[in-house]
């Protein structure tokens, strides 16, 4: 029997933004296997032009509704590097604490609300409210906590209000931080239950050797700033992100594509873990071991597991940061900022992977030129190439149907937790 398969997904569901899957297998031969981004472009890099530096972080946050804290922090870091500003220690700790809140919030939303329904054979999280109330209760509890952490430290979860060039403008009260600390401690039991749940799922056994790009941790698992590393051995400084990302335009996509040593590369939780596993919190390492995640892991479906492992890591790290913050006097939280002509690059590990903002300023502190390289922009070409390989491995058997292959390919895309509107900024 000749194998013929057609998959045509217009606007894939349970991902942020608009992308299409198109697969055609004719007489056992792959004619087409594509992942394309059709999101409407917004032209943020143009909108930044001539804006004052005090405005940029607020505007940059609007690139993404899920990782607005990362975009804001990356943006103000780029400006601080351009103006040669060093922020006070308390401000750096509060920014990192908010970052941990966002990582937790974003990963939980993905793992439990967007990815998990596939493993329960449900179209969405909604039927699980009745069928798996205990899982939904945990999901709501954990997500509520991560939102409260962001609200307390960043002033708001979506589009933060406490971060400005030079530091932070708001210091949370100690009693609020201590309340969150108790909740974070308790959340570890919930995360353990989620990890047990994931160990009962079967992830597709799919390997495609991939280059992974992330920040390189020195003493700590990296989130904000530092040098860049790839699993193929390339290293660059933060400001030299261009030879690391090599963006180019693909005619079928409104998102750009990226490459480094191979035809594409991957960023995100799996990339961070693969490049920095030795720095992850020991309790998170235990969860990784239990779920079979070892560096360097080349199965993209394991990004779900890496996100869960990072959830455990950021909860432990958030508790440590709160301990340090409540034990010390906050002191100054804003450095003096004097605009000057020049360029600056910021690199931040957003939940979905490494993010770069690059600005060129005039001497009055207004932007002359801006460039942003976003995590999903870097992942899109890799998803596209993964999909061909996935169809090749699983799609050419007699048992395969249009529906089964559609689900498998959709799950592949969802594993990357794509933030498509972000990638077409």
């Amino acid at each position: 029997m000749k194998i013929n398969i057609n998959v045509d997904v217009h606007h894939l569901t349970r991902v942020e933004g608009h992308g299409n899957i198109k697969i055609q297998v004719k007489d056992g031969e792959i004619k087409e296997a594509r992942w394309d981004i059709v999101e409407t472009p917004r032209f943020f890099e143009v909108m930044f032009k001539n804006k004052h530096y005090t405005t940029i972080g607020i505007l940059a946050a609007r690139i993404c509704g899920i990782c607005s804290i990362s975009h804001c922090l990356c943006s103000i870091r780029a400006t601080e590097n351009a103006f040669k500003v060093t922020i006070p220690e308390t401000a750096a700790k509060l920014r990192l604490l908010a970052k941990h809140g966002e990582t937790l919030q974003s990963h939980l939303l993905h793992v439990l609300f967007l990815a998990a329904p596939d493993f329960f054979n449900e179209p969405s999280v909604l039927p699980l409210i009745e069928k798996k109330p205990e899982v939904i209760a945990i999901a709501a509890r954990l997500k509520g906590l991560s939102n409260r952490l962001c609200d307390t430290v960043a002033g708001r979860t979506t589009h933060p209000v406490a971060f400005q060039v030079g530091g932070v403008t708001m210091v949370p009260q100690k009693r609020h931080l201590l309340g969150l600390r108790d909740e974070l401690k308790r959340s570890l039991d919930d995360l353990q239950i989620v990890a047990d749940l994931f160990s009962s799922f079967t992830l597709p056994n799919f390997i495609r050797e991939t280059e992974f790009v992330s920040l390189k941790g020195e003493k700590e698992y990296p989130f904000i700033g530092g040098s860049l590393i790839s699993s193929d051995g390339v290293e660059q400084k933060e400001q030299d992100y261009r030879p690391m990302t090599n963006e180019y335009v693909d005619k079928n996509n409104t998102s750009k594509w990226s490459k480094l040593s191979r035809e594409s590369y991957a960023v995100g939780a799996l990339a961070r873990f693969n490049n920095n596993a030795q720095l992850i919190h020991p309790k998170a390492a235990e969860v990784a071991a239990k779920l079979g995640l070892k560096p360097v892991c080349h199965n993209p479906f394991m990004n779900n597991v890496a996100q869960l492992v990072e959830c455990v890591h950021v909860v432990h790290e958030a508790i440590r940061l709160i301990d340090e913050l409540v034990e010390s006097d906050p002191g100054e939280t804003m450095a003096k900022v004097t605009p000057k002509a020049g360029e600056g690059v910021g690199a931040v590990e957003a939940p979905r992977g490494i993010l770069f903002h690059h600005y060129k300023y005039d001497k009055t502190g207004r932007i002359l030129k801006a460039n942003c390289v976003v995590p999903t922009t870097q992942n899109n070409a890799n998803i596209h190439h993964d999909m061909k390989s996935l169809v090749n491995k699983f799609g050419l058997t007699k048992e395969m149907t249009d529906e089964k292959l559609e689900l498998l390919c959709s799950m592949l895309v969802r594993s990357y937790d794509p933030c498509i509107s972000c990638s077409v900024h």
């Binding site: 569901t13 609007r62 509704g65 609300f113 969405s124 939904i136 997500k143 939102n147 209000v161």
Partner: protein, 252 residues
């Protein structure tokens, strides 16, 4: 969820996204303490970001994002034909939002700057009401989930739905936030519609007017104060333009 022993009608709701950051949709899944009640009060038949199911049979269309491409115009027209009620969700849907800043640039040059020799289709950003009639607007960047809940209560139980008529200043007073003008910063609080609980002034960045004008704002006095405090017309215009919500206001 019964009310006075009677099962209420669940409105069929569809959520659609256009040009924007999708942060307002995300708010629909927030406010975890009432999330289960919220979801059980309605029947969500289409919500691409959260569910793989989608039906064309719906009463209320919640539309997020602005319009910036011709295919979006067609999608909106079809939604208007199907829905009994169209809700514009968030500042992008209501006013165009920050996306509208793009309109100040030449689109051909902008396209060349971002995409080089492979330009992508794009048109000037417009709010939803410029394309189809909108029944209810919930402004905000992002929206307040409490206002979305209030809208659902309005549709299900006919309880009143009313956005605050007073400005953000009232909410700053309620939460004891020091006036931003008193510490030398610009703030659109005096002319912007409240309902957000004023997080931006409390965070130290002042109000940027994402919810649009309050009812009958006193622009004349506000502009006089801005001038008296030493801010330039350019600073004021930039802030009024930020979310595209004060389009018809003339500063001078």
């Amino acid at each position: 969820m019964k009310y006075l022993g009677i099962e209420p009608q669940k409105p069929k709701i569809a959520v659609f996204d256009f040009t924007g950051c999708e942060g307002c949709q995300l708010q629909l899944l927030n406010k975890e303490e009432t999330l289960a009640d919220f979801l059980s009060a309605v029947e969500i038949v289409c919500f691409r970001e959260a569910s793989s199911l989608c039906s064309d049979d719906y009463d209320i269309a919640i539309v997020e994002g602005a319009v910036s491409r011709n295919d979006e115009v067609k999608r909106l027209e079809k939604i208007r034909e199907t829905a009994k009620v169209v809700v514009a969700l968030g500042s992008c849907a209501c006013f165009g939002g920050v996306n509208r800043l793009k309109n100040e640039f030449d689109l051909k040059a902008a396209n060349k700057e971002v995409y080089g020799k492979d330009p992508k289709e794009t048109i000037n950003v417009r709010p939803v009401k410029d394309i189809i009639p909108v029944d209810i607007e919930i402004p905000g960047c992002p929206v307040s989930k409490a206002e979305v809940e209030s809208l659902i209560c309005h549709v299900v139980w006919d309880s009143p739905f009313q956005l605050p008529v007073y400005p953000v200043c009232v909410e700053c007073k309620q939460r004891f936030t020091t006036c931003l003008f008193d510490i030398g910063q610009m703030c659109l609080g005096p002319i912007t519609r409240a309902g957000c609980n004023a997080p931006c002034p409390a965070g130290g960045i002042g109000c940027w007017g994402c919810r649009g004008p309050a009812v009958e704002p006193n622009y004349k006095s506000f502009f006089a104060i801005v001038k008296e405090k030493g801010f330039s017309d350019i600073e004021l215009k930039e802030r009024l333009n930020f979310f595209g919500a004060f389009g018809e206001v003339n500063v001078s």
